[in-house]
């Protein structure tokens, strides 16, 4: 019995190790690259023979990367806040209120969730140039907000639906105005859901590449993923491999932090909208 249990444990152990390696190895590989000096960069080793921070120092010396990092953080944060706020309002209505046009709203957000972004790139490119927001933060915040709104609405309305309807009724009977019921009862309960949604939306905005390279032309608004594609290396005679690897690791850090601390929430958020439909 004990032997069988042990064999079972070993088998699961092996399976789990394979899964973890599968998921993490490509990430480790780029981390290893980022710590290699130019001489050992091409050795193909999984662990750098001599560790160096040079690549990191290099990218932080140039404004090319730091500027892109500031753009990435600023644009993603602002778009996230807007999308979560607008999404919360709409999700509350979708989950709780009866009004004509609700189906239309749901259908429309579904449509946008399936929308090919490239189809928007050409008109947006032209419109933004005409309006004068091409290559600005706003020029990216607008499409990011739009494309993350369906995600925000779905996830949040699933969270709203989990809050028992009776709580709101109880608050009303207890003497609350609709605004008080929302502020004192609903909002505290949906706050974790808003936080989860914010993480998902942030990851979405952080990840975008197509809009970032299409709707920017200088480092005024170029985000890190786009900047990576234009990297030239810290000196002109070097391949930018080390720099790209280091920059890639830097923008991966927030993702790893989210995943480490909020694994459960992210999983819940990702699956809530999709399964309960």
């Amino acid at each position: 019995m004990a032997a069988a249990g042990k064999a079972h444990a070993v088998r699961w152990g092996v399976v789990n190790v394979v899964v973890v390696l599968y998921a993490l190895f490509p990430v480790w590989w780029i981390v290893a690259l980022s710590f290699k000096d130019p001489k050992t960069l091409t050795d193909g080793d999984y662990i750098p023979r001599s560790w160096t921070w040079e690549n990191y120092r290099g990218i932080f010396r140039t404004s090319e990367f730091t500027r892109a990092l500031v753009n990435s953080i600023g644009i993603a944060l602002i778009a996230t806040v807007i999308a979560v706020v607008l999404g919360t309002l709409a999700a509350y209505a979708v989950a709780r209120l009866r009004f004509p046009g609700k189906r239309l709203l749901i259908g429309m957000s579904l449509l946008i969730a399936m929308f090919p972004p490239i189809s928007l790139v050409s008109p947006l490119f032209n419109i933004e140039r005409i309006v004068g927001i091409f290559d600005t933060w706003i020029g990216l915040i607008i499409p990011y907000t739009t494309f993350s709104l369906p995600l925000a609405i779905y996830t949040l309305s699933a969270f709203f639906r989990e809050i028992p309807w009776d709580l709101e009724k109880a608050a009303k009977v207890d003497g609350a105005t609709p605004a008080q019921a929302f502020r004192l009862v609903i909002a505290p309960l949906v706050a974790p859901g808003m936080f989860t949604t914010a993480i998902l939306v942030f990851i979405f905005c952080w990840n975008d590449f197509l809009f970032a390279i299409s709707l920017t032309s200088t480092d005024a608004a170029r985000t890190v993923p786009a900047a990576l594609a234009f990297f030239t290396g810290s000196s002109q005679f070097e391949q930018p491999t080390g720099s790209i690897a280091a920059a890639a690791v830097v923008i991966t850090v927030p993702i790893i932090v989210f995943v480490l601390f909020f694994q459960r929430r992210i999983v819940a958020g990702l699956t809530s909208g999709a399964v309960k439909g």
Binding site: N16, V19, Y22, L24, P26, V27, W29, T42, G44, D45, L89, A90, Y92, A93, V94, A95, R96, L97, R98, F99, P100, G101, K102, R103, L105, I106, G107, M108, L110, A113, F115, P116, I118, S119, V121, S122, P123, N126, I142, S157, P178, F209, L210, S214, P225, L228, A229, T241, I244, A248, I251, T252, I255, Q263, I266, V267, L270, A274, V275, G277
Partner: protein, 317 residues
């Protein structure tokens, strides 16, 4: 699983099923509710319409123009001739073929792998948190970063994977190997998402039902094919629909891995190149519109063929 039915307490399902006389009979409370509903949705709706509906219309308009940014003064209405040009060009059909190939192959692999991964995550007791956390990394990581990791891995004289190949081979510079590597990068990145969606579906299969099947004499394979899969069907369809549409828009991975060279460009890459390399807004917009139509066809086919329920479409109160 669900709240106890309370037909006397629960309001009827919300829907557009209002009778002709309902407007007159609508009470103050209901009117207030509907006004609040509109008010709350308005900001989101305005943003979504302004940033998608209008540009789509504008894209259609642009696609009917000859509009080359190098000669902006010479824009003129040309009817459907851009469509004729695109549809008769081998570039479009090549790109479409590449896109369909990548979509079908990667989604197939993702489904199989994702199912396996979901089963592992569902069953494992050991380091459950560790496994789930690591699986989220590919989902969360920036696609471009992952693509660079793969690119370097396959670059001769640099990468560990290239080192496994015979000397002198540069897989990213040939069409077929490159396509498979694009599929690999895509599968690695999105399988976890698929697995998580399937895992959520798997969690809805009651353990007792599986035990009952076991007592009824079903083998593990039969339990999987006859009990688990049918019960998970909605989750599988939703995951497939989402991933198919997503894969069809593939851009980042190809851009980094091959830039669409060696006939590995997807339709999105083709559209991008026409816009930003050739600076041809008319043709670029035509491609955009065609991609939009393709996506609409895929979504429609899914809904028609499988009756895939739109997630969240049925809103219960």
């Amino acid at each position: 699983m669900s709240a106890p039915p309370r037909p006397d307490g629960a309001p009827p399902p919300a829907g557009p099923r209002t009778g002709p006389d309902s407007r007159a009979a609508l009470s103050a409370g209901a009117r207030q509710e509907r006004r609040l509903g509109w008010l709350l949705c308005a900001p989101a709706v305005i943003v979504m319409v302004a940033v998608t509906a209008y540009p789509v219309g504008y894209a259609v308009y642009l696609s009917l123009q000859r509009y080359d940014l190098r000669f902006p003064g010479r824009a003129e209405f040309v009817g459907l001739s851009n469509y004729g040009a695109v549809l008769s060009s081998s570039y479009w059909w090549d790109a479409l073929w590449v896109t369909v190939f990548i979509t079908v192959v990667s989604v197939t692999f993702e489904l199989v792998l994702g199912m396996t991964l979901a089963m592992v995550m569902h069953r494992t007791v050991l380091w459950r948190g560790v496994v789930r956390t690591s699986v989220l990394v590919p989902y969360g990581i920036v696609t471009v970063v992952a693509a660079f990791s793969w690119q370097y891995a396959w670059t001769p004289q640099l990468g560990y994977l290239a080192a496994l190949l015979p000397d002198g081979s540069a897989p990213l510079t040939e069409q077929w190997p490159a396509l498979w590597l694009i599929v690999l990068a895509e599968v690695w990145k999105t399988t976890p998402f698929m697995a998580l969606l399937l895992l959520a579906g798997l969690a809805l299969v009651p353990e007792e039902t599986l035990r009952a099947a076991m007592v009824d004499g079903a083998s593990p394979l039969q339990r999987f094919t006859k009990v688990i899969v049918p019960m998970m069907k909605p989750a599988i369809l939703v995951a497939l629909l989402f991933r198919t549409l997503d894969a069809f828009r593939i851009f980042d991975n190809i851009y980094v891995l091959t830039s669409g060279a060696h006939r590995t460009g997807s339709v999105s890459i083709l559209g991008y190149d026409n816009l930003f390399t050739a600076l041809n807004l008319g043709i670029g917009s035509t491609i955009s519109v065609l991609i939009f139509i393709c996506v609409a066809i895929i979504a429609f086919a899914f809904v028609k063929l499988f009756g895939a329920a739109a997630p969240g479409a049925e809103v219960k109160r």
